[in-house]
């Protein structure tokens, strides 16, 4: 019976400790103006994306040629309408969804593939490392967007295919960073100590190396989200990505560019949405990197 109570106490202590960690992290976030700004932007974008049907004042794909190219603030259209009479605000709101889906899923899967490759290359070294890293080198020698376009040209257009191509191109930066982290960690004494204890190799990797990779992974992922969102917009802008009439920021820019001299609002507002979102993510990512760097934490 006494053991149970000890266990309970320990459990409570653990939960409290986790809570304390989150509370102190939140406190530090509130104190950092840029970090907080980034966080609020991300939060806002997520809410807008999730509740798009509730928030959007009009149907984003419904055309009404009698109301085409209305300037902002006219006829109930806050940000005006495009050349087919579609409400730009509603299209931006729905476009948020595409950007979020792209940002989150591609970063997750690219991270998964890249981490696996990086860990294998870094831990086992030898020919595996050489082969994998040469593949990474070859990929890195091509411009990012060019490679995405090539893969898209092969696979065809559409949301699913652009996600695949972003994953195929995007994993390399993870592999690079994770490999070098693993190289540093595997030479640490506690890994030698596990080996001397007789811990099997795969368990050393999964239980001892991977948990020590979370900090660089979180930071890299948070910065990659904005890169991928911009990449999607670029590809859609070039006509390879999300196809009209589905609203995405990239294809809105693409369609709006023809009217840039007569109707500036077609291209300005989706562009602003893109800028604000990526800026917010980058600010938050920067803050997170500083926060999770243990050497920075020592001063607090």
């Amino acid at each position: 019976m006494s053991q149970v109570s000890v266990g309970d106490k320990v459990y409570v202590a653990k939960v409290k400790k986790k809570e304390r960690k989150i509370v102190s992290l939140t406190k530090r976030l509130v104190k950092s103006p840029f970090g907080l700004m980034g966080f609020l932007v991300i939060l806002g974008v997520c809410i807008v994306g999730i509740f798009a049907p509730v928030i959007a004042p009009f149907n984003p794909v419904e055309t009404d040629l009698t109301k085409k190219l209305l300037a902002p603030m006219t006829g109930g259209h806050l940000l005006g309408t495009d050349q087919l009479g579609r409400d730009i605000l509603s299209r931006i709101i729905y476009g948020t969804r595409i950007s979020l889906i792209i940002g989150i899923t591609t970063v997750f899967f690219a991270g998964l593939v890249g981490t696996t490759v990086g860990v294998l290359a870094g831990y086992f070294r030898g020919w595996l490392d050489v082969v994998l890293m040469r593949i990474v080198d070859v990929q890195l020698s091509f411009p990012f967007i060019l490679l995405v376009l090539i893969i898209n040209a092969v696979l065809g257009t559409g949301l699913k295919n652009i996600m695949i191509s972003l994953i195929v191109v995007g994993w390399v930066s993870y592999a690079r960073v994770i490999r070098s982290e693993v190289l540093a960690i595997r030479e640490k004494e506690f890994i030698h100590s596990c080996f001397a204890t007789g811990v099997p190799r795969w368990e050393i990797i999964v239980k001892h190396i991977v948990p020590n990779l979370f900090t660089p992974l979180i930071v890299l992922a948070s910065l990659q989200v904005s890169t991928f969102i911009i990449a999607e917009a670029s590809v859609s802008f070039l006509g390879f990505g999300v196809q009209p009439p589905t609203p995405a920021w990239g294809n809105m820019l693409n369609e709006g560019k023809n009217f840039i001299l007569s109707s500036w609002w077609l291209i300005t507002f989706p562009g602003l949405a893109l800028v604000i979102t990526t800026l917010g993510i980058n600010l938050f990512g920067d803050w997170l990197r500083d926060e999770l760097d243990p050497e920075m934490n020592q001063n607090r």
Partner: protein, 321 residues
């Protein structure tokens, strides 16, 4: 007569250095032809200055490095020939205590996880029993049960080293290789940890290989000592014999460097000239001849082998052959 637990035969560990694509590889002869045996229940010391290969010897016995050549016979089994999986299983009987207690514990694991892991990976006991074992061992090494759910960074160096020792002892191994287990600790903590090691040795009937550069500590706890210089054993003797009457000129110089305990104590200090030669390109003949006070012609050309003296010690020096 006595029960040999570990026998090291002509152990060599050479590290390759790449000097460039078209240049031949150079080798650091970190351990060069080392042989000794360890008797069950004793504490076997390995001393020498930094870079002499004493740590590498310990690590190579445990195959933390690949063995270049030679044999490590543990309890009748040649460890150098075991497959990865067999070696992993054999590690249950051979454990290691590391030098730096700040680096040798995973910062992301609780002490409970650190202590139960060795039992778990060797498939010993049920989960419940493993927890009990961890509770038991943490008290044996002088910590409290409540420490089990803390993380390594919450402990002092001495406490961490106790945890490191507990981690090694929990498997009840036959042999523990302690690689400078106290050199990273304060002097006041050193004695506590050493007393803990001695207590555990009695309690669990352990055999130690104690690697250190601290001559005082080695004198205090070891039964026999091997002195290493540039990857070779130059002298191997019972601890009292060695400290009473060092025979090899290097041992004499090394022991004379030990601080005196009393200001009135008089001792002749042998001061060696020059530096330790590079192990990449060790001197010909006796590796010590460049710094030896009693160097002869033969020392420059012929490598002395370990010769056994009347009192059972072995010395690798031409003075005694």
């Amino acid at each position: 007569m006595s029960d040999t637990l570990l026998q090291v035969k002509e152990l060599k560990k050479h590290f390759a250095i790449n000097k460039g694509l078209f240049k031949p590889k150079a080798y650091v002869k970190a351990v060069d032809d080392v042989s000794f045996s360890v008797i069950r229940g004793e504490t076997f010391g390995i001393v020498g200055e930094s870079g002499c290969g004493k740590s590498t010897t310990g690590r190579t016995i445990l195959r933390l490095n690949d063995i270049t050549s030679g044999q490590v016979i543990f309890d009748g089994e040649d460890l150098s020939k075991l497959s990865y999986e067999d070696m992993r299983k054999a590690r249950r009987k051979l454990q290691m205590v590391f030098q730096d207690p700040y680096a040798s514990l995973n910062p992301k694991k609780t002490i409970r996880q650190i202590l139960t892991e060795p039992l778990r990976v060797h498939g010993l006991f049920t989960k419940q029993e493993r927890e009990e074992k961890a509770t038991e061992i943490i008290e044996i090494v002088g910590l409290h049960v409540s420490h089990l759910d803390r993380y390594p960074h919450e402990f002092s160096g001495g406490q961490r080293q106790r945890i490191g020792i507990a981690k090694a002892v929990i498997l009840q191994p036959d042999l523990i290789i302690a690689d400078e287990p106290v050199s990273a600790l304060d002097v006041s903590i050193q004695s506590q940890v050493i007393n803990l090691l001695l207590k555990l040795q009695k309690e669990f009937n352990l055999t130690y290989i104690f690697i250190s550069h601290d001559l005082g500590v080695v004198k205090h706890i070891t039964d026999r000592v091997a002195v290493m210089y540039l990857g070779r054993i130059v002298e191997l003797a019972k601890t009292e014999d060695l400290y009473d009457k060092p025979m090899h000129p290097y041992t004499q110089a090394l022991l004379s460097a030990e601080p005196i305990r009393h200001p009135d104590e008089k001792r002749e200090r042998v001061i060696l000239k020059g530096d330790v030669p590079s192990p990449v390109n060790p001197p010909s003949g006796c590796t010590f001849h460049t710094r030896c006070v009693s160097c002869m012609e033969i020392c420059k050309t012929q490598t002395p082998s370990l010769a056994i003296m009347e009192d059972g010690r072995s010395v690798a020096c031409h003075l005694y052959n």
